[in-house]
């Protein structure tokens, strides 16, 4: 039906009025539905004598958690145990996002490479990983690849203090020595100077038109000064070595198989999708743009950085936002391979308390928050990229 321009008393067109009314009606219905659902749930919980509310979060958890970023023991509360799970979820998600982005860009660029072999390998990788359920990839990495490693007593020793076994990847734990303060301060100063140089170079170039290698120069300043501070501190960092005793390695740091498998699985899986985003981004840039840039005679690296990438990102970023969000949600598959993420620990809490409504609400709140943060960040990035051209 055509929208008429007759204004109503409120100054709205009839079409807008109708639209506002119907939207209001839908909203009222949804709210009524939510209320009914809530009321019904409460009534049923009360009927069956199921406790509700979040008071249980204060109680002693008593459950064991194998992998925790913060100090945890079973005398802590359920709320604290859940926090351990949230941090584990965040930790693996952040690392996986970084890994998947790096690998994804490599795969995406490889797919459009003129090197036939490279392009084919990338294509096979993408098609394989995208068509396998993530759970299978996880099981494969966990039960086939990592389980095939030797027992800790026959661990593969790469160098002193670095061991590979089916119980995990053991590394020396860095420990601060006496000269650590000198080193730390030196590093901070070096970082600052490096950045200052980088920014000065950029401004200098705009002012004079002369190119100064800002990034490389800044990096050199940072590495040089930090290295100097390291020597000055008299090797301020040592490592506590893992040593095999009894059942397992003691001391050092460990990347447990569950964590490692989840990380590898998420990176491999998500990188396939991000690779496709990067490929479509690159292919979306009009060939004429590249030809025109090449005609100016600047190096192909500059063409890539200044012409190709900014335009490719425009297409790549929105799609990648979705993949990041999926990655975070997919991390919940951890439960199948025994990594104590938020869903695994929350599931245990449900098993002990039966307070599923509360825990599920908490899961939803955390996932929603993480994904909104990702979304906001990526939208900001996207807005900057969009702004940069046309």
């Amino acid at each position: 039906m055509a929208v008429t321009s007759t204004k109503t008393a409120l100054g709205l067109t009839a079409g807008a009025m109708r639209s506002a009314l119907s939207q209001g009606a839908v909203l009222a219905l949804v709210l009524a539905g939510v209320y009914l659902l809530f009321d019904n749930t409460q009534e049923n919980l009360a009927l069956r004598g199921i406790e509700s509310g979040f008071a249980f979060l204060e109680q002693e958890a008593g459950l064991p958690i194998g992998d925790s970023l913060i100090d945890y023991d079973p005398t802590r509360s359920y709320g604290y145990a859940f926090l351990v799970g949230v941090l584990n979820t965040l930790f693996v998600s952040v690392l996986a996002i970084i890994g998947a982005t790096v690998l994804g860009v490599i795969v995406g660029v490889s797919r459009v490479s003129r090197n036939w072999l490279l392009a084919k390998v990338a294509a096979i990788y993408v098609e394989t990983l995208r068509n396998l359920p993530l759970l299978l990839t996880l099981f494969f990495v966990y039960s086939v690849v990592i389980a095939a490693l030797p027992h800790p007593r026959d661990a593969i020793g790469l160098i002193d203090g670095v061991y590979l076994s089916k119980r995990g990847f053991y590394l020396p734990r860095p420990q601060a020595g006496p000269g650590f303060a000198v080193f730390a301060i030196g590093t901070a100063v070096a970082l600052m100077l490096g950045i200052v140089f980088w920014r000065w170079a950029a401004r200098h170039k705009i002012r004079t038109g002369r190119s100064v290698p800002g990034f490389r120069g800044g990096l050199a300043i940072f590495v040089g000064l930090a290295g100097f501070a390291f020597l000055l501190g008299g090797s301020p960092v040592s490592g506590e070595l893992p040593v095999y005793s009894g059942f397992n390695f003691k001391g050092g740091m460990v990347m447990r198989p569950e964590f490692t498998s989840l990380l590898i699985g998420l990176v491999l899986y998500t990188a396939a999708y991000i690779g496709e985003n990067v490929r479509s981004g690159i292919q979306s840039v009009d060939a004429g743009q590249i030809e025109a840039a090449n005609a100016l005679g600047v190096s192909s690296a500059v063409v890539t950085r200044k012409v190709l990438l900014p335009q490719a990102l425009r297409v790549t970023i929105p799609a990648t936002t979705n993949d990041y969000a999926s990655l975070v949600k997919n991390s919940s598959l951890a439960v199948a391979i025994g990594y104590p993420d938020m869903v695994s620990i929350g599931g245990t809490i449900i098993g002990q308390n039966g307070q599923a409504v509360e825990i599920i609400a908490m899961w939803m709140a955390v996932y929603l928050t993480i994904n909104l943060v990702i979304s906001v960040g990526m939208n900001y990035l996207n807005a900057r990229v969009q702004h940069a051209q046309r």
């Binding site: 004598g49 009894g246 059942f247």
Partner: protein
């Protein structure tokens, strides 16, 4: 708009129906013509699909006995495999009519989680299995060991308790499913596997070389396993409880699958006559026909037969605590009169 209204009305109607689910589980089962019975996802001997895909086992036989007592048909059961963390919720929410699935009767579950336990069908306790090559003879020697465990169970809590009270550093690896935990143990990810003793024995029989794995002597907890029903339907709770007691009493009285029909017709002992409905009305107490136990025993046999068929014959498990009270066990049915 019309569609939205219809959807809203349908949702409201669905929620009203959901609210009324618990009014009379017995009537619901009769109407549906089948019993929705929650079982495990597969524990040999207890509940496991056989090679033809038919659910068999100790826990399964209690589902069958209850279906037989109500509907006269032991096959009228719909089995719902439940993970550990779902088992309580599935019952309290009405998804299943009862759960017959290695579930420990704990105070918290019984009082705050919307379920009621019926009668104990198996007195179990948690233990450890460890690779015999480690030379470990006692759970107290396990300091520093990695232990595979299933999430959402009392097992997980007992493991933490045991470590705390004995000052042992035990590193847990917690899995969603029993199968994954067992596989991880088999692959050498963990030094030890912990769960109820009965299940350790059950899983060990499925290993390529059972003798390479040792079940340690320590029993670190009491695990009375009992079928559970939703809180609030007392008639239904009574029914499930007394079918279990009936099967235990049947063994006590020497009534078997083979002789139940003959006993029902000719027995003169008043205990047996009451149980089998040839005098009095024990079935009527719980809303069933007088021959409720005749049907149940004809379908699955008495408690001893259920135990022998599923646990002794296949897993070589002994009766132990689960022997009748007069044979040195603690199995004791409340008087059926």
């Amino acid at each position: 708009m019309n569609k939205v209204l219809k959807l809203g009305a349908a949702t409201a109607a669905a929620m009203t129906v959901a609210g009324a689910v618990h009014a009379g589980t017995l009537d619901k089962v009769r109407e549906a013509g089948e019993l929705a019975c929650g079982v495990s996802e597969g524990v040999p001997g207890f509940s496991n699909p056989n090679s033809e895909g038919v659910w068999v086992g100790f826990d399964v036989d209690f589902c069958r006995a209850i279906a037989a007592a109500i509907l006269g048909d032991a096959e009228a059961v719909r089995y719902v495999p439940l993970a550990s963390k779902q088992k309580v919720l599935a019952v309290s929410s009405g998804q299943v009519d009862l759960t017959s699935r290695t579930t420990t009767w704990t105070m918290k579950r019984d009082t705050t989680e919307g379920v009621d336990f019926t009668a104990v069908v198996y007195y179990d306790g948690q233990g450890f299995m460890i690779n015999a090559a480690t030379g470990v003879e006692s759970a107290k020697e396990m300091d520093g060991a990695t232990v595979c465990v299933t999430t959402g169970t009392t097992t997980e809590l007992n493991l933490a308790d045991f470590g705390r009270s004995n000052d042992l550093q035990l590193e847990p690896v917690v899995f969603e499913g029993k199968h994954e935990a067992v596989e991880a143990y088999k692959s050498g990810r963990c030094d030890a596997l912990t769960t109820d003793m009965s299940q350790l024995a059950a899983f060990r029989t499925s290993f390529a070389d059972p003798s390479a794995h040792r079940i340690l002597p320590e029993v670190i907890s009491k695990e009375p396993l009992a079928p559970l029903v939703a809180h609030g339907d007392n008639q239904w709770k009574d029914l499930v409880t007394w079918v279990v007691f009936g099967l235990i009493a049947a063994e006590d009285l020497g009534i078997t699958q083979a002789n139940v029909a003959e006993q029902a017709a000719n027995a003169t002992a008043p205990n047996i006559k009451r149980l089998l409905g040839s005098s009095g009305d024990t079935g009527g107490f719980i809303g069933l026909d007088g021959d409720w136990m005749v049907k149940a025993i004809s379908a699955v046999g008495n408690y001893g037969e259920i135990f022998g068929r599923n646990l002794t014959a296949t897993l070589g498990m002994e009766r132990g605590l689960n022997a009748q009270w007069k044979d040195g066990g603690i199995l004791y049915a409340m008087p059926i009169r």
